[in-house]
């Protein structure tokens, strides 16, 4: 949610700065917002860490034969592409290219929706239930990841809507940067934690 707060800031400090310019007591608002988002990401990644630990605690290095590695790889490629495109969206708005920004963002969103569809397929076709040690880890980790992905999608859609209505510019695009940074975090959790833990090890 921090993602979209840039223009109005978190509240008093930003505007206060403009009112009393004789004694600017605080650094620029973006530094505050950036740190806030990084701390939120640090905190949130602990959830993924916990579930990864639980996976090895419960199931050791066991992995059932039925795990659909090709589908997992496809999902990984899909997310990597969406991350790249989300970065393209930031680059475009930085140069003031609104159509390019919107197109890249739309593509990011579509890839995100495809990813959720892929996970749904994976869940529907899984030949193991959630009641086994590996199944427990599999369904909870992918579930946690998808719920984060969904929240990221909501934020991206809101940013897209705002962008279409003329918000954000080359000088003022923290909302876009923040949404994309969160999106990248969610992708990174898949790439670094969920995918290797469930599909590779």
């Amino acid at each position: 949610m921090t993602a979209l707060t840039r223009p109005a800031g978190g509240g008093g400090a930003g505007a206060a700065l403009m009112v009393h310019e004789a004694h600017p007591p605080h650094p620029a608002k973006p530094a505050i917002d950036r740190l806030g988002l990084w701390l939120f990401i640090a905190s949130e990644s602990m959830l993924f860490l916990t579930l990864a630990v639980a996976r090895f605690y419960l199931a050791g290095l066991d992995r059932p034969e039925e795990v659909n590695l090709p589908l997992g790889l496809t999902l990984t490629v899909d997310l990597l592409l969406s991350s790249l495109l989300s970065y393209r969206a930031v680059t475009k708005i930085r140069t003031g290219d609104r159509p390019g920004f919107l197109a890249a963002l739309a593509a990011t969103i579509v890839l995100g929706v495809l990813f959720i569809g892929g996970v749904a397929m994976e869940w529907a076709s899984a030949e193991f239930g959630p009641g086994t040690p590996y199944g427990t880890a599999f369904f909870s980790m992918t579930g946690l990841h998808v719920s984060h992905l969904l929240s990221g999608l909501v934020v991206l859609v809101l940013v897209y809507r705002l962008g279409r209505r003329g918000s954000f510019s080359a000088d003022d695009h923290w909302g876009v940067t923040a949404a994309v940074r969160y999106w990248t975090f969610v992708d990174a959790m898949w790439l670094l934690v969920v995918f290797p833990t469930l599909y590779l090890l």
Partner: protein
């Protein structure tokens, strides 16, 4: 949309008509309505989906969980998030909240209002938890003829536990942290005022869920909620889990806000070496809240998934591991005790320095103490599990790491004692409570050594010795500091002076009642009385009766406090408080009581250490156009 309409300092239009009591309740009523709508929507969709899948449409725990997951945003949006924040996500202008007295019941972004909201809420919960404690002591007056049966006792004990844990987590940090951190560092507000309001408004659902859980059979697993019991007991457990996950979110967002505020919002010249010590306590605490709270949330989420989603984290029969819960749970919940006590330490040092009229002794070592506790907090969790059957190789390392904690804690203690040494002690109520904290925490700390050592802990585990120990650290440490802070800052927050006579009566009654109650508990613990059981062997009746009587005495000791507050705030016999009744040097006293919106008439510039009492020529802060601290006591209204 590019202007911030929330800025507290802007001129405000006067309200068109005087607020009526009913209009003050509008935001809360709206929140409740949207919560109910959200609950119905979430639960309804779940039922439809289940029916479509050919399952029984109503599954209490699943429907409740999904319903709550939608009800919570409904509540938040209804209570003010939508009009003050959410509209902006859709490119619409946001509205201002009330600025008169109604703001205390609304989504206010003023850190001082939020601080008061936290204090009032958590004092309410403190007295609720206290009433439950009275019930527990009534039960334990005798091993027979008891008012509660075993199941009801377990529910009461569990509710007492979690309510008081919540008070310990949020009263000092949420109340005094919000109100005074921005003031102490010379800022106009927190870094994210709206996130701050959100953190507070996440709390009422927690209280409602915990009380509502009693209608669903309560939960009898204690505040620790160990599986396998917590996976199998009454549905009240689900409400507990949802409540504490919500509370955890509030705590995380609060910690995040404090960290960004302290890192980025300090006034010019407020270097890390000049930061008031209470702010250091909140800083170290906030890291723990930010990073470790997620582990408690994760553990409770796993229990929830085991109950509603068919996973098997903790069901041994299907490959689960109950011990895993204990590892994850204590990985948060031991650091959590530093969330309780580090703000208390900071507050105590703060009060001791001001009321000894001396520079804070070994300031840098005290800071090192806070950071040392923070650094060690993540590697001591398993001392709660010495008898749980964990791998033997963990015992010795955890014993050593736990005992290492006494080194940074000792640094903080030495700072307190060194400040007192040869000081001109001013024994007003805040100072008495701070001194009481030092005394009590010494007992709490020393008895902790026996619980950190594996050989002694094997005998003492799960006895009343443990109960006495942690009450000494939490009540004796944090709650005494809470009252020190309350009396210290009361004139600043309310603009009125409390009755010193009643405050001192409160201190002495509470100090005696507290020590008598919990010293006796060490004794019954050493004689093998188990905790969390509704009865006990008959030969322990004598000391239990004594404990109960002193426990009631402790309960009664809050009457002078309540009368003092009521008399000062409601009956209005109290004299107005000056801006700086303690002639203290820190920034919160260099502005009016209570402070104006945005806190200071001019942005302060910091030029020296906050505690240099008696150091010739030293200045802490300069308020441009007003003066320097130390030179003014009254003139900043």
């Amino acid at each position: 949309m590019s202007d911030d309409v929330h800025t507290v300092g802007e001129a405000r239009p006067a309200p068109a008509s005087p607020p009526t009591p009913a209009s003050a309740l509008v935001p809360i009523a709206r929140g409740l309505i949207w919560a109910l709508v959200g609950f119905a929507a979430g639960a309804g969709v779940t039922s439809l989906a289940r029916a479509a899948a050919g399952l029984e449409p109503w599954s209490l725990e699943l429907n409740f969980t999904v319903g709550y997951a939608v009800a919570l945003p409904g509540w938040l949006f209804g209570v003010g998030v939508w009009e003050r924040w959410g509209r902006e996500w859709f490119g619409r202008p946001v509205a201002d909240g009330p600025t008169d007295r109604r703001r205390y019941l609304a989504f206010s972004v003023d850190h001082k209002v939020i601080g008061i909201q936290y204090l009032v809420t958590f004092f309410g919960l403190f007295f609720l938890g206290g009433a439950l404690a009275m019930l527990i002591r009534w039960q334990l007056m005798s091993p027979t003829n008891q008012p509660l049966d075993a199941g009801a006792y377990n529910n009461v004990m569990s509710l007492h536990g979690i309510v008081m844990i919540a008070v310990a987590v949020a009263s000092v940090v949420g109340g005094f942290g919000n109100y005074f951190v921005p003031l102490l560092i010379g800022a106009r507000d927190m870094a994210f005022p709206r996130l701050n309001a959100l953190s507070y408004w996440l709390v009422p659902p927690v209280a409602v869920l915990l009380l509502l859980s009693l209608a669903f059979g309560g939960w009898d697993s204690g505040w620790t909620a160990y599986p396998p019991l917590s996976v199998r007991n009454a549905s009240g457990q689900v409400l507990f889990n949802l409540a504490i996950i919500t509370f955890g979110l509030s705590s995380i967002l609060g910690g995040l806000n404090f960290l960004v505020t302290i890192i980025h919002m300090r006034a010019p010249g407020m270097t890390w070496g000049r930061l008031p010590i209470f702010v250091w306590g909140i800083f170290a605490t906030s890291w723990i809240a930010l990073i470790f709270t997620q582990f408690f949330a994760a553990a409770l989420l796993m229990v929830l998934l085991d109950r509603i989603a068919g996973t098997s984290f903790f069901e041994a029969a299907t490959g689960g591991a109950p011990l895993l819960y204990q590892h994850i749970f204590w990985f948060y919940s031991h650091p959590a005790v530093y969330i309780f006590v580090m703000p208390g330490f900071g507050l105590t040092l703060e009060v001791i320095a001001h009321f000894s009229r001396k520079p804070l002794f070994a300031y840098r070592w005290a800071v090192a103490g806070f950071l040392g506790i923070l650094g060690l907090s993540g590697i001591v969790w398993a001392h709660h599990m010495f008898v749980a059957g964990m791998p033997g190789e963990l015992l010795a390392p955890i014993l050593v790491s736990t005992e290492l904690i006494s080194i940074p804690t000792g640094l903080i203690f030495l700072s307190a004692l060194g400040t007192l040494w040869m000081g001109r002690l001013w024994l007003r109520a805040p100072m008495l409570f701070a001194l009481g904290m030092v005394f009590n925490f010494l007992i709490g700390g020393v008895t902790g050594i026996f619980l950190a050592d594996v050989p002694t802990d094997i005998g003492l585990h799960d006895t009343y010795f443990v109960v006495a120990h942690f009450h000494y650290t939490i009540i004796g440490g944090e709650i005494f500091a809470l009252f020190a802070g309350l009396y210290y800052w009361f004139p600043k927050m309310t603009g009125r002076m409390y009755s010193e006579r009643l405050a001192k009566a409160h201190f002495w009654l509470m100090f005696l009642g507290f020590n008598a109650t919990f010293l006796a508990m060490f004794w019954v613990g050493l004689h093998g009385m188990n905790r969390r059981i509704f009865t006990y062997p008959i030969d322990l009746q004598g000391p239990n009766l004594v404990t109960s009587l002193f426990g009631f005495f402790l309960g009664i000791s809050f009457l002078p406090f309540l009368w003092n507050m009521a008399r000062t705030l409601l009956v209005r016999r109290a004299e107005p408080a000056p801006a700086n009744p303690w002639a203290a040097r820190t920034l919160e006293w260099q502005t009016s009581s209570p402070p104006p919106p945005e806190n200071f008439v001019a942005d302060p510039v910091i030029d020296g250490h906050p505690y240099d009492y008696g150091v010739p020529g030293s200045v802490h802060a300069i308020l441009p156009g007003v003066g320097a601290t130390g030179t003014l006591t009254e003139g900043t209204r």
